[in-house]
Each structure stands twice: as structure tokens, then as C-alpha cells.
């Protein structure tokens, strides 16, 4: 299977290193990271780790995106968030030596560097800078989780929740040369079922609300490319 991205095997030569919260490390630490990591490429739908599984190690997501999902107290699957390139996955479990808190599944072909837990702990102890980066990543993850809680708790209707989600995705728009002014194109790789798990509703409701958005001219959907055609109207749906 051909993947439409360049595999980055050498962390020292990674062009995206400085953009990552974790990977922007001193040269000595990067050399050690290079020695202890195993680079792998995963297809869409690959499970990197399972909720409740004993920690094997961490995954540094180099390319692609992955969804973090868990099971709610009612037994329903819910998506906690979508991880972006540069994020370290399985960090909580590896640091605390406790089971993985979420299931991580790739949403598109992805590259991830795996580091075994024992190697990662030694890496942390050997390089204080790594500990600092890990602390920053966890601080960031906590903030995201708190924002998620507040965001979900504040949204009352499904159209509002969906509008809020689309607007959040619009913070990372696709760069399309053919797009019209005032339009924002997004790449949405989540299925309607997954969107439902994200905002806590049923797939049928997501389908119905999306149809309503399309009919009202708020968005245009063509495959995985969604285009926001009336941002103001979407923003008006968000009351909180």
C-alpha cells in the first residue's frame, strides 16, 4: 500500500521537530531517542493500544492522526480527542505504570515511533530535558481535557455541539488553492458514527443535523472534504 507521506526515520533530520511539544530536544537526547525508538507505519484503523491494557510503551505520532476513545460509565464508546502529529500517546500509562486509559486508533495512514516503557523511563531519568517536555505535554493534555469537559458540558443541543466541533476543526483548515474567499475547507476523516461518539449522540442524529446544515448552506460535504460556506451562521448556533 502506498502512503502519501514521507517516512521520517531519523529524528535528527525531522523538519517538524521544532513544532512538536515533545520532540524539540537537545542533540544528545535526540541521539539516544534515535537509538531506542522503533519506527512503524500504520494503515488507517490500526490499534496502537487498548484501554485497560498493561503499558508496553509510548508512541510518538510523527505523521497522521489518531483518535483516543474510551468507554463511558454507561458502556458507550466515546472519543476523548483526536491526536495530531508530534503528540506522545500512552504517556500517562507509561509514566504512572498503569493500564492505558484510552484506546488509540489511527484515523489515517500514520507513522509512529514506539519506545518500550523501560527504555522510556530510563530516557526520562537520563535526560532532565525529556522530563520537562513530558511535563509540558501532560500539562497541555490536562488543559485539553478540561476544555473538553467544559465544552461538552456547555453545549445543550446537537446542532450546537456539531457546529462547535466543526469550528474547532476549522482552526486547522486545508490549504486549497481553489477555495473561494470566506470559505474554509477541512479534511474530516471521522465517520458519522465517530462524530456521534465525539459529541455524545447517535449516528442518525448526526446524519440528520448534517443534512440540515447542508440544506441551510452552512457547509458543503464532498467525501472527506468539508467546506464551511457560512461561518457566521455556524457561529450563531454556538450560544455558549
Amino acid at each position: 500500500m502506498a502512503y502519501h507521506f514521507q517516512i521520517i526515520e531519523d529524528c535528527l533530520k525531522c523538519a517538524f521537530r521544532e513544532q512538536s511539544l515533545f520532540c524539540d530536544l537537545p542533540r544528545e537526547a535526540l541521539i539516544r531517542l534515535q537509538q531506542i525508538k522503533a519506527t512503524s507505519v500504520y494503515p488507517k484503523g490500526a490499534l496502537l493500544c487498548l484501554e485497560g491494557q498493561s503499558p508496553r510503551g509510548i508512541f510518538i505520532l510523527c505523521t497522521g492522526r489518531a483518535k483516543l476513545s474510551t468507554t463511558s460509565s454507561e458502556g458507550k464508546s466515546m472519543i476523548l480527542r483526536v491526536a495530531e502529529p508530534g503528540e506522545v500517546l500512552g504517556l500517562t500509562a507509561a509514566v504512572a505504570n498503569s493500564p492505558y486509559e484510552a484506546t488509540v486508533e489511527t484515523l489515517e495512514p500514520s507513522q509512529a515511533n514506539f519506545i518500550a516503557q523501560a527504555d522510556f523511563v530510563r530516557f526520562l531519568q537520563e535526560f532532565p530535558d525529556v522530563g520537562l517536555k513530558v511535563a509540558k505535554q501532560l500539562t497541555h493534555n490536562c488543559k485539553c481535557a478540561y476544555d473538553e469537559i467544559r465544552s461538552l458540558g456547555l453545549s445543550n443541543s446537537v446542532p450546537e455541539k456539531l457546529a462547535k466541533l466543526i469550528l474547532r476543526w476549522a482552526e486547522h483548515p486545508l490549504e486549497l488553492s481553489s477555495k473561494k474567499p470566506n470559505e474554509t475547507a477541512l479534511r474530516v476523516t471521522l465517520t458519522q458514527e465517530e462524530i456521534a461518539q465525539f459529541i455524545g449522540t447517535s449516528r442518525e442524529t448526526v446524519s440528520r443535523v448534517l443534512t440540515s446544515f447542508r440544506r441551510k448552506g452552512l457547509i458543503r460535504v464532498k467525501g472527506a472534504t468539508w467546506t464551511i460556506t457560512n461561518r457566521r451562521a455556524l457561529e450563531n448556533l454556538v450560544t455558549t
Binding site: V95, L132, T139, A145, I149
Partner: protein
């Protein structure tokens, strides 16, 4: 804040204030209702059994021990308050707290009672204001560590960041549990009592 939270928090408006360097050999009632505990060998060992100290060398623990204050605080005491910079790290030894986030439409919360949890670390290391409230649901035995002392130790011993990461990992787990356990309320708009900690 939901009914459950407000009924709990409303019983006491106490704020945690700690004076450093006090003589801890005698129990002393503080004006806010906190009671200092003598630091005998048993309590000192108990204080060592927390998620922060278990990762530190005996030398570093000894350095922090001189700034510790162990006390029992009454029900309703806010240990960490959203938007208020914490003056101390708070190590919980016994008792039950509610960890909650204020929202415009109420409060999402979780009861937490695992001994050894350290609260206030995220705000301390990031310099950001706390985003959670931690309030005692019953009398709690705690140890406080002044922020300035811990930050000074952290700056001179960056290896401590591994221990910090462990504390932050638990913070993240708690946030995920709040999200998971309150999902019914979030998703259905129903009001519920704080969920029990896993």
C-alpha cells in the same frame, strides 16, 4: 455548581492558609479550622507515601521535609480553587475530596479519595491558573508544601520532572474520569451527583 456541590461547599467558607516554620510538636488549631498535626515518625512515613515523594531520592525528600506542614482540614475546605494561584502543593493522606470544574451551566465533578495524591502541580509548573476546584468532602489529613520551596528545588534538580510527570499523569487520569463519568449528564443534559472515583 450543582445542588450537591453547593450543599457541600456551602458548609464552610474556609480557605487554606499555612504559616511556614511553625513548631509542629504541638497540635494547634488554626483560625480557619485547620489543625496542625505533630510530625512523628508514623506521620512522616505516611507523608513519604505519595506519588511525588516515591519518585524522589531520600536527600530531596529531606530537603522538602523542612517546609512541610501536616494538618487536618475540615469538610468544605477548598484545597485548590479555580482561577486562584495556589500557594502550596497539597498532598492528600486521608479523606475524600471533590475535584470539579466550574461551567456556566453547573459543575462537573468527581469524588476522589486515593491517599498520596498531590494537587496543585499543574498550575505550579505551568504558571497557569488552576482550572479545577478541589474541596474536602470530609475532614482530610493533608501535607502542604510551599510553592516557592518546591519551585526552588525543581530549578536546582531538573531530574524531579519525572516525579512531576507522574503527578500530572494522575491529574490527566482524573480529568478523563470526570469526562467519562459525567458523560451521561453532558450528553443527555441531566443533572447528577459526582461520580465515584474508579
Amino acid at each position: 455548581m450543582d445542588d450537591y456541590q453547593s450543599s457541600r461547599a456551602g458548609k464552610s467558607g474556609n480557605h487554606l492558609t499555612v504559616t511556614n516554620g511553625g513548631d509542629c510538636r504541638h497540635s494547634t488549631s488554626l483560625s480557619n479550622g485547620s489543625i496542625k498535626q505533630p510530625m512523628n515518625s508514623t506521620t512522616a512515613n505516611a507523608a513519604a507515601a505519595n506519588e511525588l515523594y516515591e519518585m524522589l531520592s531520600p536527600e530531596l525528600r529531606a530537603k522538602l521535609a523542612s517546609s512541610e506542614q501536616r494538618m487536618i482540614v475540615p469538610e468544605g475546605t477548598p484545597l485548590i480553587q479555580q482561577g486562584v494561584p495556589p500557594e502550596n502543593l497539597v498532598i492528600m493522606h486521608s479523606g475524600k475530596v471533590a475535584v470539579s470544574l466550574n461551567c456556566m451551566s453547573g459543575s462537573a465533578s468527581l469524588e476522589y479519595s486515593e491517599p498520596g495524591k498531590v494537587f496543585g502541580m499543574r498550575a505550579l509548573v505551568s504558571g497557569e491558573l488552576p482550572e479545577i476546584n478541589v474541596t474536602c468532602l470530609e475532614p482530610c489529613s493533608i501535607t502542604t508544601l510551599p510553592r516557592t520551596d518546591f519551585v526552588a528545588l525543581l530549578e536546582s534538580n531538573p531530574a524531579i520532572y519525572f516525579a512531576v510527570a507522574k503527578v500530572l499523569s494522575t491529574d490527566l487520569k482524573i480529568a478523563d474520569r470526570i469526562l467519562r463519568n459525567n458523560s451521561r449528564r453532558f450528553f443527555c443534559g441531566s443533572r447528577s451527583r459526582p461520580a465515584k472515583s474508579n
